[in-house]
């Protein structure tokens, strides 16, 4: 009976594949893309200001509301700025680590690094964010440590810098930035290490053999070939920062971020169309980012 089924399926590859793919595709299609589409649709509706009910007629009024309020534009720019800064910092910090993991670490060291990079992800996200609030607090571990190193003036100087500063690290954009970078760093390291691992040692030797100094080899060979990994990692760090609402509400200055606005508009404010319009912004920004990355040839080596 089972044998007959195996024989039946073996001869019909297409049928077999569709049998396997159908349930997940249905899930992805209906639950995921379907709800995304419903969200997009919502953003083209508007709320009736008197009855506070959604009027299901097509209108661009909600987008008008989104872009005409300077406060909303501020939120978008603030979120975008943070996402760019976090992505750049994550790339710079991740590169040496990923490079070590991919090229220099022995098998045991490599395993240790992979576990070490992924281990923070085994803990609850909320626990980590609240832990960071304590770490960054005025009497927290970090300021104590900085003081011990005699670098307190440096920290004070950073905190007195207009935009990124604040009364304490825990209530400044600088602190928020640190938490964001910490949270998303694994998502940058892993694809980057995977990309670097695919660059054969002989290419680096060939480059040196032809007269390239280590810096030239890095710019001409390593970086271009690591670009797909860098692109993949940065899509993670960029989009995760754009959409997050927990970190900005627990750590950092009181300014709003896109994720917080979505949360607030669909929750307490009950303005679902505006929440939908806000959540379309990261989708568009990531679309623009991917297009730019593609233009720059980030996916050519794929």
């Amino acid at each position: 009976m089972l044998r007959g089924l195996s024989t039946f399926l073996y001869g019909r590859r297409g049928f077999y594949l569709s049998l396997l793919l159908l349930p997940p595709l249905l899930w992805l299609g209906i639950v995921y893309l379907g709800s995304l589409f419903a969200l997009l649709l919502q953003s083209f509706y508007a709320i009736d200001e008197f009855t506070a009910r959604i009027v299901p007629t097509f209108t661009l009024a909600t987008y008008g509301q989104l872009l005409s309020h300077p406060a909303n534009v501020d939120i978008i720019l603030r979120t975008l700025g943070m996402a760019v800064a976090v992505t750049l910092a994550a790339a710079v910090i991740a590169f040496p680590i990923a490079n070590y993991m991919a090229r220099y670490a022995g098998p045991r060291m490599k395993a240790l690094f992979y576990v070490g990079v992924m281990m923070p992800m085994w803990t609850s996200y909320l626990v980590k964010v609240y832990a960071w609030r304590l770490v960054l607090a005025k009497q927290g571990v970090l300021s104590w440590f900085v003081e011990r190193l005699g670098l307190a003036p440096v920290l004070d100087h950073a905190l007195s810098t207009p935009v990124i500063g604040g009364p304490t690290l825990a209530s400044s954009y600088l602190g928020m930035f640190i938490v964001f970078v910490y949270m998303w760093l694994p998502f940058m390291i892993l694809p980057l290490a995977a990309a670097l691992e695919r660059v054969p040692e002989s290419l680096l030797q060939a480059s040196a053999d032809l007269g390239a100094r280590p810096g030239q080899t890095f710019r001409q060979v390593v970086l271009p070939l690591a670009l797909p990994g860098l692109a993949a990692g940065s899509v993670f760090t960029f989009s995760l920062t754009l959409g997050d609402y927990i970190i900005p509400s627990v750590v950092g200055a009181p300014g709003y971020f896109i994720g917080m606005m979505v949360y607030q508009q669909q929750g307490t404010a009950g303005n679902l169309p505006l929440a939908a319009a806000f959540s379309v912004v990261p989708i568009l920004l990531i679309g623009v980012y991917l297009t730019l990355a593609r233009r720059m040839g980030a996916f050519d080596a794929l």
Binding site: L203, Q205, V221
Partner: protein
């Protein structure tokens, strides 16, 4: 073997000989407990085609990597053109390498790959483009300048790698099993092409291979590596005709090696010797061995027919196996069956005494 003499040994004693293109002095390199190179010394003359021959793990590739500068020796010195380069990084050595896997940059076109050397050395874009095309013409690939490596066949990649390595006009070209990944026909074609290229350019070639046929047909001199040492360094003919050890005799041209105890029964002296299969005569039934020849008889195991020749495997009474090659033209009548008694003979001069066995 250490302390190999330079080839200028018989030269004019008045003028100082030019410095060797490459000189290794007591070079050693270990990886953990493994001695990849064990105090190796050798000199390679300017313009020489020099082969490093040996089985995998014999140290030949380690030797090449040390000359290129990808690795540093634990002991000894490396000299290029008389200058000590032991601590000089690869990007400051005037040698270039053709890699076994070609190591072409996948994100660059063929022309960009070839122009890479001049580029990192600061040659202007227009000039290095011209240099690259010139080199591609040398390997007859100028029509593919705009392609990427992924669009090339193995033989074409090989030529691009060659052009890329030659564009800097190195004094020494290092080739690491460059033809290993090619099929037989292409390999033979590239062999003669490499040889003529080397002749035309006058560059010193150091060629790593495990293929003794390739080394014999291309090289001026060959160093046979075994377990991190040079077992013998000689001309191809010298290696083939006068192997010094059983290892060389077997590895180069697969000679018959007869160990000391068996040798005593055949020649009367307990010294191991080698005898080339093609120098053994299979005697016709009943005909006596020629005067002064070494003769023995054994049981025929089987005959491998190769067309122009056939290889006869004969088991001697003491258990050792001899292979005799017979030309097709020389054999008359039906071949004997397996198990038949066969008489072999060879001239005493063609027997090569071996240092060890």
């Amino acid at each position: 073997m250490t302390g190999i003499q330079g080839i200028q040994a018989g030269g004019d004693p008045v003028t100082a000989p030019p410095p060797a293109a490459i000189e290794l002095v007591d070079v050693g390199r270990s990886f953990g407990p493994v001695r990849a190179l064990d105090r190796v010394s050798l000199q390679i003359a300017q313009g020489e085609f020099f082969a490093l021959l040996g089985p995998s793990g014999s140290g030949k590739t380690t030797c090449l990597r040390l000359i290129a500068g990808f690795d540093r020796p634990d002991a000894g010195r490396i000299l290029l053109d008389g200058a000590d380069v032991t601590d000089v990084p690869p990007f400051e050595r005037n040698v270039n390498t053709v890699f076994q896997d070609y190591a072409l940059f996948p994100h660059m076109t063929v022309a960009e790959n070839v122009a890479y050397g001049p580029k990192v050395r600061g040659v202007a874009a227009e000039k290095r483009r011209r240099m690259a095309l010139e080199m591609l013409e040398l390997v007859r690939l100028q029509s593919l300048a705009g392609r990427t490596p992924a669009q090339l066949s193995g033989g074409q990649k090989q030529r691009v790698a060659l052009a890329r390595a030659l564009v800097n006009h190195p004094k020494v070209l290092l080739l690491d099993e460059p033809l290993g990944a090619l099929d037989l026909r292409l390999r033979e074609e590239m062999q003669s092409e490499l040889k003529s290229l080397q002749h035309r350019l006058g560059i010193t070639f150091v060629y790593v291979t495990h293929d003794q046929g390739e080394a014999l047909s291309m090289a001026d001199r060959i160093a046979v590596f075994r377990d991190g040492r040079i077992e013998q360094l000689d001309t191809p003919r010298g290696l083939y005709v006068r192997p010094r050890t059983a290892f060389v005799a077997r590895f180069v041209g697969s000679a018959n090696v007869v160990e000391a105890p068996a040798a005593a029964k055949i020649t009367g002296t307990a010294q191991a010797f080698a005898i080339r299969p093609e120098l053994i005569d299979v005697l016709a039934e009943g005909s006596p061995a020629p005067e002064g020849a070494v003769a023995c008889s054994g049981e025929l195991e089987d005959i491998h027919y190769h067309g122009a020749t056939s290889r006869w495997h004969v088991r001697l009474p003491d258990g050792s196996l001899l292979t005799a090659v017979r030309a097709e033209a020389a054999s008359a009548g039906p071949a004997p069956r397996s198990g038949a008694r066969v008489h072999l003979a060879w001239s005493r001069d063609s027997l090569v005494p071996l240092a060890d066995a």
